[in-house]
Amino acid sequence: MGTASFQFLGFAAIVIAVFNISRHVRWRQMVLLIANVIFLYFLSNQPMLWVPLAGFLAFGFVSLRLIQNRSGKAAYLLMLVAGIAAFVWLKKYTFVPSPLIMHWRYITVGLSYIFFRVLHLMIDAENNGLEEPVSLLSYLNYTLNFTTFLSGPIQRYQDFARYQLAPMPLELDITDAGKAVERIVIGFFKVNVISLLLSMQQTRALNTLHSAGSLESRLWHGAIIIAIYPLYLYCNFSGYIDMVIGIARFLRIELPENFNRPFAAGNFMAFWSRWHITLSEWLKNYVYNPLLMASMRRYPSRALEPFLSAFAIFVTFFLVGVWHGQTSEFLFFGVLQGSGVAAVQIYQSMVTKKIGKKGYKALTSNAVYRPVCRGLTFAWFAFTLLWFWSNWTQIGDLIHTVGPLVLAGSLFAIFAGATLALEAWERMRALVMAVEIGGDPLALSRYTRTVWNTAAAVIAIAVTLLMNAPAPELVYKAF
């Protein structure tokens, strides 16, 4: 059930059928709540394992209620800090002293996303961002919504409530239903076919790494191992998001988009505005903006601003890494994300200062500069992901087996290959989109989409049945 499987789709289909029996708000709320509880039961049918998560949720709700009843600034800050500390404690971050950790087995699946939702509720409640008191039912449905429980996206409560608590549910005509089915099919195809094949390819390269003798073979192995993972992660993560966006639409909820062609980004800062968008947005609103505003108030100097912004960016993206996991690998992953985005910020302001805003704009649309930056962005992201999917021992083994210089060559090959491949992809896409019928791109017409979706569904079903293997694990389920 915790994967993009037929079982999950079957479960969703039953929930959708029952949910749409009545339009009444209470009915919709109750069906969603029961569906959420059943979903958790399928993830683990041992209630004791859920106790810590339930405790965190209870803490969140009590805090929210106290804040909404105007408990005072000091109490609010105390509850905010306690919430963050509880998260760190439950997730067993490596810096938490061992005697403080609960050593018995319990489940933290979904906790990271619940954490963002609870914090968002608390902060907004303090700042008059919530118009109505949040009821327990709405709180539970918002935090445990089975469509977003495992991998997000992180929806704002106000948007969730707008759909869930509306007297009349969001309209769902035949076109909306068709588009929702399309998202589910595409998502299922991405996870169960593309990401599966990419994962198999990377595993094969890893398994044969030690037998790679020649320089070319080692270079190839290094490049394949590092370059495939971002593509795999994208298909795995965005595919599941596509599926839940489609399913939620049938539950009369419009979930926010989480991806916008991230590999088309011209720099690492733009990349993060296209990748895991709801996480970036959350951090921008609740970390970057307040941090930068506070530092700019303290040091009001136009010359310092780019550096203050780079610092705020570094902190923000460092937290992205830390949020992903509890080990030093994720800490380092965060440092690399933060450094990458901060470097872009400083570079941009330096170049703009030198050649002016118009000059910089012209540079970014240059036919050579743009693809090179795109390739560099991809290569950097692929490189940083080494600390995301492997550990220090595996990285050491990779460097030792392939050789440091050859590995550097592999990275250069990834950069060059990504530059050419992504540019070719963008040009091909532009060409395809230029073929129009009735003023709209032929590729986006409902006939073309029907053909493509039917083919994707048939291939996905065939591959799933032929492989006779469980659906690929969702990478973000672990966070």
């Binding site: 902060i123 947005e281 921008k284 903006n289 912004s309 704009k361």
Partner: protein, 80 residues
Amino acid sequence: MTTEDVYKKLAVSFQNVFDDDSIVLTPELSASDVDEWDSLAHVRLMLTVEKEFGVKFSAPEIGRLKNVGDLAALIQGKVN
């Protein structure tokens, strides 16, 4: 303060932040319409507006803004 007054004052803030006299403020104008309107410029704009109107914005308020219309409405809600 009328909506017109808010837009007049806002226009000055925008011109100062973006160093561009050609920006015409409409309620629909958003960050995607102005090249230089990135996350740093957004914060700079918020601080300038705070100073100009003598108001203070919270993180959730800034996060909710989608366009100039939202910003003008937020300011009006605070100053009136």
